[in-house]
């Protein structure tokens, strides 16, 4: 006798099952449709193109669950159990359907192996689900939400799996086939039925119960967090899509806040809370968490577009603050990207936050007072610090730095000093040191003097895109006028803005946006000079230092090694990494325009949390490579009374000290 199994054995009214299945699929499709509507509405769809490389990457990423393992192997294993259990059971069901409808191939060995594998898969699924519940409620992993509603989905799936086993066990009890042990799980349950007759009577009830719950789960899937099963792959696929740049000019008639890929991101979020665990603002006790933001944004979208959601207020357009997210909270994000670094589904919160801000700014909503003042200063005086345009070149008064707008310097390097480095008394030392180093290395360079505009980072992060575009036009026009092709910046923020944001604009085909200059951050130039032995450190500098990675240098532009290479080139120096370094660096709290909004600070401030970490590794010196980080950390050092314990320095200052140069002798 060949081992096999009759589909719909002992089941009457087969048609009813198909009817229910069709209903479930309809409900399922409607759910998918409602998501798609929200996605579509928010889009200015670029023609979607199929990228084989992306697709392959997506498949690999999803099947291995790589990002879920990262940083939390237990979570990876737990999710792996569920994922593989689920996938296997799904494939098994498909095979059974094929077997029933097309060609009967599930017989003999093959059938038995399938039975075995499916029982293993069910076990995996149950183990994974129970493990998930244990992690959430017994281990109480901090990043997970503890509300009882979060137990619903895992319990539902456990019930699906258990009723499956029960059905199987009952069938085996009724049929008592020779090969029953292959279904090792169901087999074990046959003790529940005293005889084959009883089992035969119970079987249809169990079968229908399992069928109903399973179909119900399918119907419910798009309306629940399980939707991530479908959204996550899409999200992973689109992760590298460049951010949506919509020039202000063309924005007038559009209402959308988010881009297509952001809408997908929001749906892919499973509330795993990794972002919450790494968010520096959340860590400092501020009323912002990336997860809450995403859920709020998602609700907002759904409320606006979903055909199934009642609109709370049909008049309402644009942004309305939701529960747990006040309209103020969006200003807390430092745009440090730590959340994106750990998100399994690549939700780019900083970018979405920026877009929300943009909408608030454009609608004349509630922009914090301090930021308002800063933006006004950028607009009027071309810098966020001083109510004057005249002090920009004060730092170089006694230095004789060539002014590229006046002195001709054929093919000279343009040192883009930046607002903060030019204006802030502490940060000015970055410019003085860097100038001294360049002169020492014999590099011909100049600045834009008093005429240097703001790069636009401040406006961009605030969502003041109109102002950003003005800044951008000013900068590109100036570079073009003076034939500047090589730019080096003090600030990772200017660097990022030139290198990436300008480029994204340029890619729109707008002539004025064409980026004809090449930008580097000074750390890259210093590393190059060190590598080419144009900078040589002769003196020993026996100190223990640590390097604080600026977000816009590291996470945004993946420059981790250049500054470290410079530090390591100094003899005698010991570089000790902080627990948070490289891609895991902890934000100083100055990005995303937080520099100008200290009123949002938590207690302790992000910068203080960061500087304490530096103290904890025994560093005598904290080196950084960003004027904002420098100011924030220097401030933290003072306000936390650490002045005797350690110093904060810009990499340029360290190099000047190691070379034995005087800043002023430049």
């Amino acid at each position: 006798m060949t081992a096999t199994r009759l589909t719909f054995w002992h089941i009457n009214h087969e048609w009813l099952f198909y009817l229910l299945a069709v209903a479930a699929i309809l409900i399922f499709s409607a759910g998918i449709y409602s998501h798609m509507i929200a996605w579509r509405k928010e889009v200015r769809l670029r023609p979607l193109q199929f990228h084989t490389r992306r697709f392959a990457h997506t498949v690999l990423e999803i099947l291995t669950g790589r990002r879920i393992f990262m940083g939390d192997p237990a979570a990876g294993l737990m999710h792996g159990c569920i994922l593989w259990g689920f996938i296997t059971l799904f494939i098994g069901t498909v095979l059974v359907a094929v077997d029933h409808w097309a060609i009967q191939f599930l017989k003999g060995k093959l059938y038995l192996i399938l039975e075995f594998v499916l029982d293993v898969a069910g076990l995996l699924l149950i183990v994974g689900l129970l493990w998930a519940l244990v992690r959430r409620y017994l281990q109480r992993v901090p990043r997970l939400e503890k509300g009882l509603t979060h137990a619903g989905i895992p319990l539902l799936l456990v019930i699906v799996a258990l009723t499956g086993y029960l059905t199987e066990g009952c069938r085996l009890a009724a049929q008592n086939p020779l090969w029953g042990t292959w279904s090792f799980m169901g087999w074990r349950l046959d003790f529940l039925w005293s005889d084959a007759r009883g089992a035969s009577t119970t079987y249809p009830f169990l079968w229908w119960l399992h069928a109903l719950i399973s179909l119900g789960t399918i119907a419910y899937l798009p309306y629940s967090r399980l939707f991530h099963i479908l959204a996550a792959p899409v999200s992973v696929y689109f992760q590298d899509d460049p951010p949506a740049i919509i020039p202000v000019e063309t924005r007038e008639t559009t209402e959308e806040v988010y881009s297509f890929r952001q809408a997908v991101f929001f749906d892919a979020c499973t509330r795993c809370g990794r972002c919450v665990a790494v968010c520096p603002a959340t860590g400092a006790g501020e009323p912002f968490s990336p997860r809450d933001y995403i859920l709020w944004a998602r609700d907002n979208l759904k409320e606006k577009y979903s055909p199934f959601r009642k609109k709370r207020n049909p008049e309402q357009k644009g942004i309305t603050p939701g529960e747990g997210v006040s309209s103020d909270s969006i200003w807390h994000c430092t745009t440090c990207r730590a959340c994106l670094e750990v998100c399994p589904v690549y939700v780019a919160v900083p970018e979405a936050v920026r877009q929300t801000r943009s909408k608030v700014v454009e609608e004349g909503g509630d922009v914090p007072g301090a930021l308002t003042q800063t933006l006004k200063k950028v607009y009027k005086y071309n810098n966020p610090w001083e109510a004057t345009k005249t002090k920009r070149s004060n730092w170089s008064k006694d230095l004789a730095v060539p002014d590229l707008t006046k002195d001709t310097l054929p093919d000279g390097l343009c040192y883009f000093v930046g607002c903060t480095t030019s204006m802030d008394t502490r940060a000015q030392s970055i410019a003085r040191s860097f100038s001294a180093i360049l002169k020492h290395a014999g590099i011909s360079f100049g600045t834009l003097g008093r005429g240097e505009p703001c790069c636009g980072d401040i406006a961009r992060r605030a969502g003041e895109d109109g102002l950003f575009e003005i800044n951008r036009e000013d900068c590109t026009a100036l570079f073009e006028e003076y034939g500047i092709s090589r730019v080096v910046t003090s600030s990772p923020h200017c660097f990022h803005t030139f290198r990436n944001t300008y480029a994204s604009y340029g890619a729109l085909g707008d002539d004025a946006g064409k980026v004809v200059f090449n930008t580097r951050h000074y750390t890259q130039l210093l590393a190059e000079l060190v590598a080419q032995r144009q900078l040589r450190f002769e003196r020993r500098l026996p100190v223990t230092v640590t390097f604080h990675d600026p977000c816009y240098l590291g996470r945004y532009n993946r420059i981790f090694d250049a500054p470290r290479n410079v530090i390591k080139a100094i003899p005698g120096i010991r570089l000790k990494e902080m627990p948070h370094h490289g891609p895991d660096s902890l934000c100083c709290g100055g990005g995303g325009d937080r520099m100008w909004q200290e009123e949002l600070d938590g207690d302790p401030k992000m910068s203080i949390i960061r500087i304490r970490e530096a103290v904890s590794v025994g560093a005598e010196l904290v080196i950084t490579a960003c004027p904002l980080c420098l100011i924030m950390l220097e401030d933290a050092r003072k306000s936390d009374d650490l002045e005797s314990k350690l110093r904060v320095m810009d990499l340029n200052e360290l190099v000047v000290e190691a070379l034995g140069l005087e800043q002023t002798s430049a």
């Binding site: 202000v248 004349g364 933006l375 109510a387 004057t388």
Partner: protein, 262 residues
């Protein structure tokens, strides 16, 4: 509700170094940044909030040169519906009533239910134009208003008096209010906001459109001449100079001598 708000485009002088021009009657404004008069910003915000709460229309009007349209654009971006610029040609050396006559000619046809202006301007600081306008329009008025609400046909306003005291007054519409700073938080106007309103036409009026002969400019002014000079700075102040350390050392010494740190 037909709301008219008068605004002025003025140079920012808080941190600026002011120079008197050659004829001694004005300051050199080339290096100065201009913006909507601080008080007027609060007046526009009040107007917009009133409109948002009760409906109606807000018209912003200024008397100034072409540059001053920037202030009007600002008001439009904040939410004003229409804007009128009365060209300042012919108003050179006008006194406050002269300016008010021009504005009156321009806005009288609008028959405002409520006229709002800043309590004063940061440049000349006469504090007269708003009230002159009220009088010319035959409106009851209240000055130095820090807070007001509309109740049926009544404006209930709080005027700021001296010594932390306010005065509650009631006015029947139509009326005029001059707004004091701190009344509200004027909203941020984005560049996008300004760009959005660039297609709204600004109506331009000029003195020649009206019969203002002999009522404006130097001819009608009560002033024959104005001579500016730098203020008597320092007075009797001893300016403490030196390095930061020295300055602070000396200052601490002064504080000690004068009875601080006792």
């Amino acid at each position: 509700m037909n709301i008219v708000v008068c605004i002025k485009h003025v140079p920012e002088v808080i941190d600026a170094e002011l120079k008197i021009n050659k004829d001694g009657a004005g300051v050199v404004t080339d290096d100065l940044e201009f913006d909507i008069n601080e008080w007027d910003g609060f007046a526009v915000e009040s107007a917009i909030r009133l409109k948002e709460a009760h409906g109606g229309k807000v018209t912003a009007i200024t008397l100034g040169d072409e540059e001053s349209e920037e202030a009007l654009r600002n008001a439009l971006a904040m939410g004003a519906d229409e804007a009128i610029r009365f060209d300042s040609q012919g108003f050179e050396q006008s006194d406050a009533p002269g300016i008010a006559r021009g504005l009156h000619a321009g806005l009288a046809p609008l028959a405002p239910d409520l006229l709002l202006t800043g309590a004063q301007s940061s440049d000349d600081g006469w504090g007269q134009v708003g009230l002159c306008l009220a009088e010319m329009l035959g409106l009851s008025y209240a000055s130095l208003v820090v807070d007001f609400e509309l109740k049926d046909n009544l404006i209930i306003a709080h005027r700021e008096l001296e010594a932390n005291t306010l005065e509650r007054v009631e006015l029947t519409l139509p009326c005029a209010l001059t707004i004091q700073t701190g009344t509200n938080k004027p909203r941020y106007v984005s560049i996008m906001g300004i760009k959005k309103v660039r297609r709204i036409g600004i109506e331009t009026l000029s003195a020649t459109d009206f019969d203002l002969e002999g009522m404006i400019g130097a001819e009608a002014s009560f002033m024959a001449e104005r001579i500016l000079s730098p203020p008597e700075t320092g007075g009797h102040a001893e300016m403490i100079q030196g390095s930061l350390e020295e300055i602070c050392e000396r200052t601490a010494q002064v504080i000690r001598e004068k009875g601080g740190l006792a």
